[in-house]
C-alpha cells in the first residue's frame, strides 16, 4: 500500500510544466478536425448510416414491422395469382409489396429489422446525409429506400445477388453457380405443390 503524501511546491511546479508541455506539443501537431461539409468523412463501409431495402427480396412477411421497437416500418401488400405453368397445374398466389415505408424520425437505428429479415431484403448502408427541413419528410418510401442499396458493401449482400448493371463484370462460371443456388432457394421457398 502506498502512503499518501501531500503534494509539495516541486510537485506543483512539475504539474504546471507538464500542462505547458502537453499543450505546446499539441500545438506543434496538426489538428484532428475534419472539415465535414467541405470534406466528406472517411467512414468504414459497414457503418450503420441508413436502412436500405432490396425490394425484390421482400415477401411482405411483416417480421421487420412486428419486431421494430419503435413501430416505424409500414408495410402494405396484396396477393396476386400466378396462372399454372404446365397444363393441369395449380394456380399459385404470391404477395406483391405495395408500400414499404420507414419513418426515420422514429427509427432508433437498432438494426433489429435487418437482423430478423429471413429473406435478405434489408441492409445497413453507410449513407448518413439525408436530413430534412421538415420532420414529416423523413418518412421514406420503397423507391427511396432502394436507392441506398448502391452503397451497401458487397460483403453484406446475399450470395448470388448481382447489382443492376454489373452482370457483365462477373465470371461466367461464378454467375452460373449463383444462378443455381438462387433457383434452389426459390424452390425451397415455394409452397408445397
Amino acid at each position: 500500500m502506498t502512503t499518501h503524501r501531500e503534494p509539495g511546491a516541486m510537485d506543483l511546479l512539475r504539474g504546471l510544466g507538464k500542462g505547458l508541455a502537453t499543450t505546446a506539443k499539441t500545438l506543434a501537431r496538426p489538428a484532428h478536425t475534419r472539415q465535414y461539409p467541405h470534406q466528406e468523412p472517411d467512414l468504414p463501409e459497414r457503418s450503420h448510416g441508413v436502412v436500405a431495402l432490396l425490394e425484390e427480396n421482400c415477401t411482405s412477411c411483416m417480421l421487420c414491422a412486428r419486431e421494430c421497437p419503435s413501430w416505424c416500418i409500414y408495410i402494405d401488400s396484396h396477393k396476386e395469382t400466378i396462372e399454372p405453368g404446365p397444363e393441369g397445374g395449380r394456380a399459385r398466389q404470391h404477395n406483391v409489396l405495395d408500400r414499404f415505408d420507414i419513418d426515420f424520425s422514429l427509427c432508433m437505428y437498432c438494426g433489429i429489422c435487418i437482423e430478423v429479415c429471413p429473406f435478405d431484403a434489408l441492409f445497413w448502408a453507410p449513407d448518413f446525409a439525408y436530413s430534412e427541413g421538415d420532420i414529416r419528410n423523413l418518412l421514406h418510401d420503397k423507391p427511396k429506400l432502394g436507392t441506398w442499396m448502391t452503397n451497401v458493401p458487397d460483403s453484406t449482400l446475399p450470395d448470388g445477388y448481382v447489382r443492376p448493371g454489373q452482370e457483365a463484370a462477373r465470371p461466367v462460371a461464378d454467375a452460373a453457380q449463383h444462378d443455381e443456388t438462387q433457383d434452389g432457394t426459390e424452390q425451397a421457398g415455394e409452397p408445397d405443390g
Binding site: 500542462g19 499543450t23 505546446a24 499539441t26 500545438l27 501537431r29 489538428a31 484532428h32 478536425t33 472539415q35
Partner: protein, 321 residues
C-alpha cells in the same frame, strides 16, 4: 510631427491610439481563438474569411444585433456605465506606453506611475457591474475581483518600483532606454512577480475565480448582453495588450534590438506578442486556483519575492552607480 499645429498633432495621435486600441485587442482575440484551438487539437474558427480571420468582426456584428437587457433589479445607471468604466482606462493607458523613443502618443514624465494608476481604475467597472447587476452571483464575483485586485496590486507595484529604481526614472521611455540585457537576470524575480500579478489583474486563468462559471455563473458580467458584454470582452483583451506592452517596456527592454533605430516599434510589437501568447497559453494549460490559494500566493509568495527583488535592486544600484 513638430511642424504641425498642436491641435492637429493631438487629434492625429488620438486617432492613431484609438485605431490601435480597436485593432490590437481584436488581433489578440483572434490569436487566442487560434492558439487555443490548435493547443487542443482543433482548428478554431474557419468559416468567416480565410482561416476565420474575420470571426471577431462577425462576433461584433452579432453583439450589436442582440438585445441590450437591463435587469429590473439592476441599479440602472451604475449597470449601464460599468462597461465604459472598465474599458476607457486601458485606452488611456495605451496612450502613454512607448513603442519606441519616438513612437509614444503622450510622453509624460512619470508615465509608469500614470499607467499603474489608470489601469487600477478599470476594477471600478468590474465592481460597478457586480454591484449594479442586482444579482448575488455578480456581487460575489465583483467582490472576488476587488479582493484579488487589492492583493495583486501590491506585488505588481513593488516589482515595477524595482525597475524604476534600477533605471532611476519613472518615465517608461527612460526605463526602456536605461535597460540592458543583463537586467533579464538581475530583474528576473521582479519580472516573474509582475507577470503573475498582471495575469491576476486581468482575471485570466489561473486567476479567474471572479468569473468562475461553475461557481458564480460569469461573475460580474452575468447579467450583461449585447454591446455591454462585448465591451467587457474588449476590455479584457485590451488589458492583455496593455499588460503585455508594459511588461515588454519594463522587463524586456521595449524596442531595444538589432537596428532598433528603424525597427524599434517592430521589436516592441514582437516582444509584446510573445508575452501576450504566454498569457493566452496559461489559459489552455492550467486549472483555476481556489480563492484562498489565490490570496495565499499573493501574500506569502509574491509580496516577499517582490521585496527581495527590491532589496536586490537596491544593492545593485548602490554598487554599480
Amino acid at each position: 510631427m513638430s511642424d504641425l499645429p498642436l491641435t492637429v498633432e493631438v487629434a492625429l495621435k488620438a486617432v492613431v491610439v484609438l485605431a490601435a486600441f480597436l485593432s490590437l485587442p481584436l488581433a489578440i482575440g483572434q490569436t487566442e481563438h487560434k492558439v487555443m484551438a490548435h493547443m487542443q487539437g482543433r482548428l478554431g474558427p474557419m468559416e468567416a474569411g480565410p482561416h476565420g480571420i474575420a470571426q471577431l468582426v462577425a462576433d461584433g456584428i452579432k453583439f450589436v444585433q442582440k438585445e441590450d437587457v437591463t435587469p429590473a433589479a439592476a441599479d440602472r445607471w451604475v449597470f449601464r456605465l460599468a462597461p465604459a468604466v472598465a474599458l476607457i482606462p486601458y485606452l488611456v493607458a495605451l496612450a502613454v506606453i512607448p513603442w519606441s523613443a519616438a513612437w509614444v502618443a503622450a510622453d509624460v514624465p512619470a508615465s509608469l506611475l500614470f499607467v499603474l494608476a489608470i489601469t487600477s481604475v478599470g476594477i471600478f467597472g468590474t465592481l460597478m457591474a457586480g454591484w449594479g447587476s442586482g444579482n448575488k452571483y455578480s456581487l460575489v464575483g465583483g467582490m472576488r475581483a476587488g479582493a484579488q485586485l487589492v492583493s495583486y496590486e501590491l506585488p505588481m507595484v513593488l516589482a515595477a518600483a524595482s525597475v524604476a529604481m534600477a533605471a532611476g526614472t519613472l518615465s517608461l521611455t527612460g526605463i526602456a532606454e536605461a535597460w540592458s540585457w543583463w537586467w533579464l537576470v538581475w530583474q528576473l524575480p521582479g519580472a516573474l512577480v509582475f507577470l503573475i500579478a498582471a495575469v491576476a489583474e486581468l482575471q485570466r486563468v489561473p486567476f479567474d475565480a471572479p468569473i468562475a462559471d461553475s461557481e458564480v455563473v460569469f461573475g460580474p458580467y452575468t447579467e450583461y448582453s449585447g454591446l455591454g458584454f462585448a465591451f467587457f470582452l474588449l476590455a479584457e483583451y485590451a488589458g492583455i495588450v496593455v499588460m503585455s506592452l508594459l511588461f515588454t517596456v519594463l522587463f524586456l527592454g521595449g524596442w531595444s534590438g538589432p537596428w532598433s533605430d528603424t525597427l524599434g516599434p517592430l521589436w516592441t510589437l514582437l516582444k509584446a506578442t510573445a508575452v501576450a501568447i504566454l498569457i493566452l497559453w496559461l489559459r489552455v494549460a492550467w486549472p483555476r486556483v481556489r480563492e484562498d490559494q489565490l490570496q495565499r500566493l499573493a501574500w506569502t509568495v509574491l509580496v516577499p519575492l517582490a521585496l527581495v527583488q527590491l532589496g536586490l535592486t537596491g544593492i545593485g544600484v548602490v554598487i554599480w552607480t
